[in-house]
Symmetry: C2
Subunit: 95 residues, 2 copies
């Protein structure tokens, strides 16, 4: 029993690192979008686009997480992405 717990924990660590990689890859894309939006003086936060992303995500959700949980987690990821864009903007102003 102990060994199957160990195996599952190793799997969990691997999936954690894959999630880490994807979250950072997502952040890089968000930074590129932020740069384009800065040049075009577009607003960083677009609630309509955010709703569209969440709808697309939950329409593909097969569980076990419920849609509400998935939305909650992704909203945290979106918020972190926005904060990153704001940091980049601030740094750009300081150059």
């Amino acid at each position: 029993m102990g060994s199957s717990l160990d195996t599952l924990r190793k799997q969990l660590d691997e999936v954690n690192l894959e999630i880490l990689e994807l979250i950072n890859r997502r952040a890089e894309i968000v930074q590129q979008i932020g740069q384009i939006k800065s040049k075009q003086s577009m607003k960083k936060f677009d609630p309509v686009r955010e709703r569209e992303m969440l709808d697309l995500i939950t329409s593909h959700n097969t569980g076990p997480f419920e849609n509400s949980t998935i939305e909650h987690i992704f909203k945290e990821i979106f918020k972190a992405g926005l904060e990153l864009q704001e940091d980049d903007h601030r740094k750009a102003l300081l150059v």
Copy 2:
């Protein structure tokens, strides 16, 4: 310019769905761990193990997200996993 924004948004949607898949795969592993822990009357929440997972994750973090942001997002994912285990436990008691 508009088309490169579209391209980046498509990439973002793809990465979102990959994150969704991994988060749910993670949840399945967490459910299996929860079942083993239930049988052995082990506590679901293990702060030492959670700290170990976070340390492993941040030690692999190459950015652009800062470690504090990564920890924040993962703590939300961990919390959702724990809630899922509690739901499973409640359902098991009702059977």
